[in-house]
Amino acid sequence: MSLAIERQADAIRGVLARYRELHAAQSRGARAELEKLERLLADAGARLAASFERLCAAAARGVTFIAPRAAANDAPGGSAAAAACAGADDLARAAGEAVTALQFQDLASQLVGHTAARLEALDRMAGELARLPEASMPELCEALAAACGARGVSPVGQGRMSEGGIELFQS
């Protein structure tokens, strides 16, 4: 009887060792991909922000150049100056929307960080499983809960780039 139990315990140890090996390989791969994603996001964010700033500067120069000339050449009550003003308003609105959208990099980077923290929790849980079959079930459940619970990061709740908000506590 004890021999059969010992064999079963060995089999469990073998399965767990194999599981930990595979888990570690997958975890390493996922971490490397997250790091690459983080670098790509940072690079894309910086390039987009730089391009955006250059575009805005060029647009501002264009508006500064065109608007007074349109006004000067316009007939009284004419539409050229009004069109130039409307163009400037459109540009300002588009620039505002781009400023909001370009913040995607910060939110995405935080989500990458949270995902990395979850992977660490999974690694800790896999480590605790190695205590089978020696540990008692209550001990193991407690250890798994502790490994799972200690993430220490806050989630990003926003699902869209229009979900920001402002609340003043005092004026």
Binding site: A42, A49, E53, G96, V99, D106, S154, V156, I166, L168
Partner: protein, 121 residues
Amino acid sequence: MAKTVLAVDDSATIRRMVGFTLKGAGYEVIEAVDGQDGLEKARARQVNLVLTDQNMPRVDGLSLIRALRNLPQYRGVPILVLTTEASDEMKQRGRAAGATGWLVKPFDPNRLLDVIHRLIG
């Protein structure tokens, strides 16, 4: 003379977008990469308003606010938190630390300017 805003965030993109928005409206912007850097820059030069992220390396936003509120020259200076955190619990912690307001990312530049204009002109 232009009013000065200290923008504290570990995200370069956010600092850049805050800078773009505020400089375009005539404010001077000083950037800091985390709470520790922000505290040092706030001590080195008096600013009119502080805009800080919450989750940052070294010193987080709420710790920065507490440290600033302990400095006599920053007791009455508006401090806004600009963060992805939107929970009521965090907002209350921010308020207790001495924050003037709570802005959830991503910010709308026009609304940010409205608030800052209302606070410091």
